[in-house]
């Protein structure tokens, strides 16, 4: 997410809005955004309902044994169709902004 924030101008130019989603509370997300300087929307899926709808729940992986999201990225076009997805197999490896910006050229 740091690299997304650093490339935010390029995303805006490409017409792409990055949006982050986790089970954190709105307050925790606000603290995260303030401390890290994130300016894109960060949404709070407290009960992992949306995360489950996307089949991204990592059961019991939170510190208190709660369900959390596994890392994943989806580029969605204006018809809500996924044009690119990244389901990493190792959570130390994430999508790079350049990858997403390259694919975003295909969007109309």
């Amino acid at each position: 997410m740091r690299s997304i924030e650093r490339s935010l101008n390029k995303f805006s130019e490409a017409g792409i809005r990055p949006v982050a989603i986790s089970v954190d509370t709105s307050e925790d997300s606000r603290n995260l955004a303030q401390s890290q300087g994130y300016t894109f929307p960060i949404l709070s899926d407290r009960n992992a309902e949306v995360i489950q709808r996307y089949d991204l729940a990592h059961k019991g992986a939170g510190i208190h044994g709660e369900d959390i999201a596994r890392p994943a990225e989806f580029l969605i076009d204006s018809t809500k169709t996924a044009v690119w997805i990244n389901l990493t197999e190792n959570y130390w490896i994430r999508a790079r902004p350049e990858q997403v910006l390259e694919v975003s050229k295909l969007l109309k």
Partner: protein, 152 residues
């Protein structure tokens, strides 16, 4: 302790080992180039390994003032450093892979599920809104959804 008799390669090897472990989580994880594959940390571990090898040879040399103590201390430092390296390999290459397969996740070409969730100020934001609220005065071409594990 006489500074000339200090087994400096051994202790420096231990310091570099700890630095090789911790620097990933505090420094190298910040940059995709050093995060996706921890080559910078593996280089540090190699340097630590060379220093520790020198330190162990030194510690087991016959001219040490306290041969038994020297052998015990250098053995403990060597084994501990090996343990730190094993921990690193486990955390990055094994622990990082313990993720669900998510076979039911939306695939390329499929429509993704709608949602409406509170943002950092508690206001409900829908996927429709994210796709229609202008960016720099223009209608967005798309949205990048980033699911992440959370702050904790």
């Amino acid at each position: 302790m006489n500074i000339k008799r200090l087994n400096w390669p051994l202790w420096l090897g231990l310091v570099v080992t700890l630095a090789a472990f911790l620097s990933y989580f505090f420094v190298f994880v910040l940059f995709p180039f050093t995060r996706d594959f921890p080559w910078a940390n593996l280089v540090l571990f190699v340097i630590a390994g060379v220093l520790l090898f020198m330190g162990l040879r030194h510690g087991f040399a016959s001219d040490r003032p306290h041969p038994t103590r020297s052998k015990i201390v250098s053995s403990i430092v060597g084994v501990f450093s090996l343990f730190v390296f094993a921990m690193f390999v486990f955390v990055i290459f094994v622990g990082g892979r313990s993720l669900p397969a998510s076979k039911g996740a939306p695939q390329v070409g499929q429509r993704v599920p709608d949602f409406s969730l509170p943002d950092t100020s508690g206001r409900q934001v829908s996927l429709d809104e994210l796709l229609t609220t202008p960016i720099n005065g223009n209608r967005p071409k798309g949205v990048l959804l980033i699911f992440y594990r959370g702050y904790w």
